[in-house]
C-alpha cells in the first residue's frame, strides 16, 4: 500500500540530496555580478 522507507534508504536519499551542495557552489561561483539570489536572513 505504501512505499515504506527503511533507515538505509532514507540515509541514502539524504546523502544524495546533500551531494547537491557542491553543485550548488559551482553554480553560485558563476553567478556574482549576474543576479542576486534570495539568501536566508
Amino acid at each position: 500500500m505504501v512505499a515504506a522507507h527503511s533507515p538505509r534508504e532514507t540515509a541514502l536519499g539524504i546523502v544524495v540530496v546533500a551531494a547537491g551542495l557542491p553543485v550548488y557552489a559551482l553554480f553560485r561561483r558563476q553567478l556574482p555580478g549576474k543576479r542576486n539570489l534570495v539568501e536566508a536572513d
Binding site: 500500500m1 505504501v2 512505499a3 540530496v17 553567478l31 539570489l37
Partner: protein, 432 residues
C-alpha cells in the same frame, strides 16, 4: 541580418513583423504566458491526486481499521489536513506569484541553498522517477487490456511520456485542455461506477454493520489509524504540484488558492464516495489484499470483463496524473535556470510556443531513461522521505515568511493561522 526563410516560414512572428533575426529575438516571449484559469488549475489538482491510489489504498486501510466509520473518518480527516496544507500553499502562491512552487517558497523562506537542494532532488530523481512510475503504471494496465509483451509495454510508457512532453512543448493551453478533459472523464467514470453499483444493487448495505465497532482480526485502533493515515496521505499526494505552474496562471494568487480548495474538496469527496462504494460491494471480512480487492470489486461490478474494465479505468486515472505531472514538474528546472542555478537553456522560453521547452525535454529524457532502466521504484523509495520533508519545510516556511512580512502582503492569508500550517505539519509528522 537576414535569416533563413525556412526558419521564418514556421515562425508566428513572421506574420506580423519583418523577417530579421533581430526582430525575431526582440519579439519572442522571454517569460511564460499567463493563459490558464480556475478550471485548468483545479483539473491539475484533482487530476494529479486521483490516480491508482484510490483503487489500492482502501483495502489496506479497511483491513487495518476494520470499521466503516473509521475508514470514512480517516479520509475526511486527511482531506481536512490536506486542505490546511493547500490553504498555506495558496497564501504562499499569492505572496510569490511566479513559476516554481516549493522551489520559490523555500528560496524566499530559507535561502537559495535549501531551494537548490529541493530542485536538485526534483530534477535528479523525484520528478522523473514519479513520471516514470506513472507512465509504467499506465502502460502496465494498458498491457493487461491489449496483451502487450514486456518490451512493448516499456516502449508504450516511453511513448506516453514523450507524447505528453510534446503536447506541453507545443502549447500550455492544449495541455490544459487535455488535463481538463481527462479529469472530467476520470470523475465521470468514477461517478458511473458508483451509479452502476447502486442502480443494479450489486452490494449490500449490511456490509456497513456494525458501523463503528472494529472487526475481529483488525489492528488496534491507534495502529490502524497510523497505517490508514499514511495510506490516505499518499493518495492525496500531488495537490501541491499546481503551484509550480503559477507563472502561467491568470490572477495567480486568487486563482491558485481557489483551485487548491476546490480540487482538494473534489478529491476528498471522490475518495469518501469510492471507499463507500467499495464497502457496499465487499464486506470488510472478505478483504484480503490490495490486488485481490480490486479484482473482487471488478468481478462484482462487471462480471468476467471486470478486470479489463477496471484496467481501462486505471489507465484513464493514471494517465491524467502523468499529464498533470508532465505539465508541472519542468517549471522547477525553469525557475532554477532563471536564477542561474541550472543550465541556462532550461530557463529559456520557446520563441514560438512560449513554453519552457528545454526544461520539458530534460524532464522527459530523464523519465524515459528511468523507464528503460526499470529502476525508478527503488529510487523513489530512497527519496520519498526527503520529498515529504521538503513539503513540510515549505509549509513551515509560512511561519518565517509571515514573520518577515515577505512577498506580496496583500495576498489572501491562510485562514486559521497558525493552526492551519500546524495541522498539515502534524499530518507530515505521521508519515515519519
Amino acid at each position: 541580418m537576414q535569416v533563413r526563410p525556412g526558419f521564418l516560414k514556421w515562425s508566428f512572428i513572421n506574420d506580423r513583423y519583418p523577417m530579421t533575426a533581430e526582430t525575431v529575438t526582440a519579439t519572442a516571449p522571454k517569460e511564460l504566458r499567463r493563459e490558464l484559469g480556475l478550471a485548468s488549475a483545479t483539473a491539475v489538482v484533482a487530476g494529479e491526486c486521483i490516480a491508482v491510489g484510490i483503487f489500492l489504498t482502501p483495502a489496506g486501510m479497511a483491513k487495518a481499521l476494520g470499521s466503516p466509520m473509521w475508514l470514512l473518518l480517516v479520509w475526511l480527516l486527511v482531506g481536512a489536513m490536506t486542505m490546511s496544507g493547500a490553504l498555506c500553499f495558496g497564501e504562499l502562491a499569492g505572496r510569490f506569484p511566479r513559476a516554481g512552487g516549493s522551489y520559490v517558497y523555500l528560496q524566499e523562506a530559507f535561502g537559495s541553498g535549501v531551494a537548490f537542494l529541493y530542485g536538485w532532488m526534483c530534477l535528479l530523481v523525484m520528478d522523473p522517477g514519479l513520471s516514470a512510475s506513472l507512465a509504467t503504471g499506465t502502460a502496465t494496465y494498458a498491457a493487461y487490456i491489449f496483451h502487450w509483451s514486456a518490451p512493448i509495454t516499456k516502449l508504450a510508457a516511453i511513448a506516453a511520456i514523450w507524447a505528453l512532453c510534446l503536447l506541453n512543448i507545443v502549447s500550455i493551453r492544449m495541455s490544459a485542455s487535455f488535463m481538463r478533459w481527462i479529469t472530467w472523464l476520470k470523475l465521470g467514470v468514477l461517478g458511473l461506477l458508483t451509479v452502476w453499483a447502486l442502480l443494479f444493487r450489486l452490494g449490500s448495505w449490511s456490509n456497513f454493520v456494525p458501523f463503528v465497532a472494529q472487526r475481529p482480526g483488525s489492528m488496534s485502533l491507534m495502529g490502524g489509524l497510523a497505517v490508514a493515515l499514511v495510506g490516505a496521505f499518499y493518495s492525496f499526494g500531488g495537490w501541491w504540484e499546481v503551484s509550480k505552474i503559477e507563472g502561467e496562471i491568470r490572477d495567480p494568487g486568487r486563482t491558485l488558492q481557489r483551485a487548491m480548495v476546490l480540487g482538494v474538496t473534489v478529491v476528498t469527496a471522490v475518495y469518501v464516495l469510492i471507499s463507500g462504494v467499495f464497502l457496499y460491494l465487499i464486506s470488510l471480512e472478505s478483504v484480503t489484499s490490495n490486488e485481490t480487492f480490486v479484482a473482487q470489486v471488478g468481478s462484482i461490478l462487471f462480471g468476467p470483463a471486470g478486470g479489463v474494465v477496471f484496467a481501462a479505468i486505471v489507465v484513464v486515472c493514471v494517465l491524467g496524473s502523468l499529464a498533470g505531472f508532465t505539465m508541472s514538474a519542468p517549471r522547477v528546472y525553469y525557475a532554477m535556470a532563471k536564477d542561474g542555478l541550472f543550465l541556462e537553456a532550461a530557463g529559456r522560453v520557446h520563441p514560438r510556443y512560449g513554453t519552457p521547452a528545454t526544461a520539458i525535454v530534460v524532464q522527459g529524457a530523464i523519465a524515459a531513461l528511468l523507464v528503460w532502466m526499470s529502476s525508478f521504484q527503488q529510487i523513489i523509495a530512497y527519496f520519498i522521505f526527503v520529498a515529504v520533508a521538503f513539503l513540510g519545510l515549505t509549509v513551515a516556511g509560512l511561519f518565517v515568511l509571515r514573520g518577515r512580512n515577505r512577498g506580496d502582503t496583500t495576498a489572501t492569508l491562510a485562514p486559521g493561522y497558525p493552526f492551519t500550517p500546524l495541522a498539515f505539519l502534524v499530518l507530515v509528522a505521521f508519515y515519519w
